[in-house]
């Protein structure tokens, strides 16, 4: 246990983490982008039109993966926030803080693509039903976490305060998930797991879902590295790196 903690401490040091993350990025970025293009071309060109919704249903291939990411990122952020609060590991603090803007983007995409799908299918861009409202609240929670992190000057204290807000906001996640069961909503229920989806429609959805996870991983590492440069800017390793990096 002692050796394990020491290993975590050495490998989890900001400098080591920065280098490791830099080496990992291409391994997530390249398959992520390839899968994303594959899934989108599959979904737009090769998947057949829906017998009820025609071609409008093709929005599902980006809407549902985005919605999954909006929840998945929040859960990941909560794990990092809990680790940050319990063990006060700097890299965990920055990982949690790096999650928030990515989660906000996927939540905004969920709302926008859902709105653009709702107009032709339900006749309205927006309805204050439980699923949509709770997803909008999720966006506000993400923005509040980002705002709180920016508002406190001491970066360590800011990260811990925002991490606490992350854990408070966790209560909204089951509400979003079960909203279609608890309330009668305009939004349809669980499609992918309950109803049988044709493989030619399920595959592009799953491919994009995997691709968005890889893109999230890429972006998380990029953003954590960026936060490490900012918070460690007075440390020797950042200064050495800044000097050697070609000013282009």
């Amino acid at each position: 246990m002692n050796r394990l903690m020491r290993w975590i401490h050495i490998k989890g040091s900001p400098e080591n983490y920065y280098r490791l993350a830099g080496r990992l990025i291409p391994w997530f970025a390249i398959p992520g982008l390839l899968l994303l293009v594959t899934g989108i071309v599959y979904g737009l060109v090769f998947a057949p039109p829906d017998y009820q919704q025609g071609d409008a249903y093709r929005i599902i291939f980006i809407h549902v993966p985005s919605a999954w990411m909006s929840l998945f990122i929040y859960l990941g952020m909560s794990v990092a926030a809990a680790i940050a609060l319990i063990w006060r590991i700097k890299v965990a603090e920055l990982t949690a803080m790096a999650c928030a803007p990515i989660g906000a983007v996927f939540t905004a995409l969920t709302l926008l693509t859902g709105s653009l799908w709702g107009k032709p299918m339900w006749g309205t861009y927006w309805e204050w039903d439980a699923r949509m409202t709770s997803e909008l609240i999720l966006l506000f929670i993400y923005l509040a976490i980002m705002g709180l992190y920016q508002a406190i000057e001491d970066r360590r204290k800011a990260a811990r305060a925002a991490s606490l807000l992350v854990l408070v906001g966790l209560v909204n996640i089951p509400i979003i998930h079960y909203s279609v069961q608890w309330w009668s909503t305009l939004h349809q229920g669980v499609t992918v797991l309950d109803r049988k989806m044709d493989p030619s429609m399920l595959w592009p959805l799953l491919i994009v879902a995997v691709a968005t996870k890889l893109i999230f991983a890429t972006n998380l590492l990029q953003r954590t590295r960026l936060l490490l440069i900012s918070t460690e800017s007075r440390k020797r390793w950042v200064r050495e790196m800044a000097k050697t990096e070609t000013p282009s």
Binding site: A29, L36, I40, L44, V45, P49, G54, D55, A56, R58, I59, I62, H63, S66, I102, V105, A108, L109, L112, T113, L116, W117, K119, P120, I215, T218, N219, Q222, R223, R225, L226, I229, S230, S233, V238, R239, M241, A242, K243, E245, P247, S248
Partner: protein, 75 residues
Amino acid sequence: MSLSEFLNMGGYGFFVWWSYGLFAIAILWLLLLPRIQKRFRLKEVRQQIALEQLREQRAGKSSISGSQSSSPESD
């Protein structure tokens, strides 16, 4: 299937292409912005180093000439 048919998306082209367009822009923005920001942050660090070196030089000179001492830490 012709290209115009494909772009028309059975009459839902507006909704489908706006969705995919926003999605593409968001993903590109997510992935490209940190690359640009990293360059700026490292430039800031280099400027900070240069500034500190300049202060050290000034402090060194002033102590040799015996004129009014300025401490680099004070400002």
